[in-house]
Symmetry: C2
Subunit: 211 residues, 2 copies
């Protein structure tokens, strides 16, 4: 049971976070052998038709009228989302947001293992926070190599973010979650996903005023 | 210069955060009278065609070949995004993430005014943090009424989130930005926008493994 590259190419962006929700529904559900699209829909708040459409992108692994194999579906979703293995993650910027992310248990549960923290504040360097050691930025190359760090979360101020991202790219990081409210340049082959909190509030504001 | 409800209905979800970026581009740009879709595209990283398509949802306010009036476009974008007035915002949960959001200057700059903090930890209640007083949750109704709070940001643990959201709805809050990794129920007329940080990392992981 696997999925093909061919299927994968047509996946709309908005399907991806729904896959994460479906995976969580499988973990929550009491079904052990088969699960219907209706049950997944009920647990996630999407429609059964949406569930079927999203999962159809990845090939045939449901039996019409009977449902999906829970075990197969779990395995395929983990594989699709790239969380069938651990990611070693560097956290850059140990301010309040950095600390909040470090204490956020959800990351570790999903296979995102924050393995090292980096900050240039001498009061923070050398500290051990939630079991994670804080290093100076100029030690990044050393630890990225030693711990095979391929993912990073960036919570530094906007003015410092591009320099940090350049350093990350330089040491082989391939995936960056950026919270700095600024547009950053990365070369092809490196993926960056931005969360701009003010823009998220504006989206909410838009939804609230447009019934 | 305004936009009509009729136009607004067809707006795709993904257009909304782009509007936020266009607005930022107008603030950044040196153009004072007219700005072309090409300049907006250059400043935001979208294509000029995308810019024109997105702005066309809100009516005719560009002149073909000449560009958009900077002043009109700013005004319309503020209005569309619902940030042509201040929002008084309550912050529920004063842990690390709450503190990070409180210190985040981008909110205030865009008209989101965090006016009160709430937490049930007796060590936090009564404190003044970044100019914002921390209250007990049972004082919510009082302050929501006094300060006309219609928006809230929720950073409490998943297990407490539904009870908090019920309280917020009860005191007239209409828009909630939720960081608790749990699906919450709100009645019609109340908008909730969820940011689940583990799901954002999974989206990044997906992007990183699928070239």
């Amino acid at each position: 049971m696997t999925f093909t590259e061919q299927h994968e190419r047509r996946i709309p962006q908005r399907t991806i976070p729904r896959l994460s929700h479906y995976y969580r529904a499988l973990l929550e559900s009491r079904e052990v052998q088969l699960i219907s699209s209706e049950t997944i829909a009920e647990l996630t708040g999407y429609t059964a038709a949406q569930v079927r459409r999203d999962l159809a992108y990845f090939g045939q692994f449901g039996t019409p009228g009977r449902g999906y194999s829970v075990e197969d579906l779990k395995k395929v979703l983990l594989q699709i989302l790239g969380i069938d293995h651990q990611w070693n993650v560097a956290l850059i910027g140990m301010g309040n947001l950095g600390l909040a992310l470090l204490r956020y248990r959800g990351f570790h549960e999903q296979g995102f293992n924050i393995i090292a923290g980096f900050d240039n504040d001498p009061r923070k360097v050398g500290q051990m926070i939630e079991g994670v050691k804080v290093h100076q930025m100029d030690e990044l190359a050393e630890y990225a190599k030693r711990d095979q760090i391929r993912m990073a979360v960036v919570t530094v101020p906007a003015s410092a973010a591009q320099a940090v991202v350049d350093q990350l790219v330089g040491v082989g990081v391939k995936a960056i979650l950026n919270f700095a409210p600024v547009r950053l340049q990365v070369p092809g082959g490196v993926k960056i996903h931005n969360i701009d909190l003010a823009i998220e509030l504006e989206r909410l504001s838009f939804l609230a005023i447009h019934k």
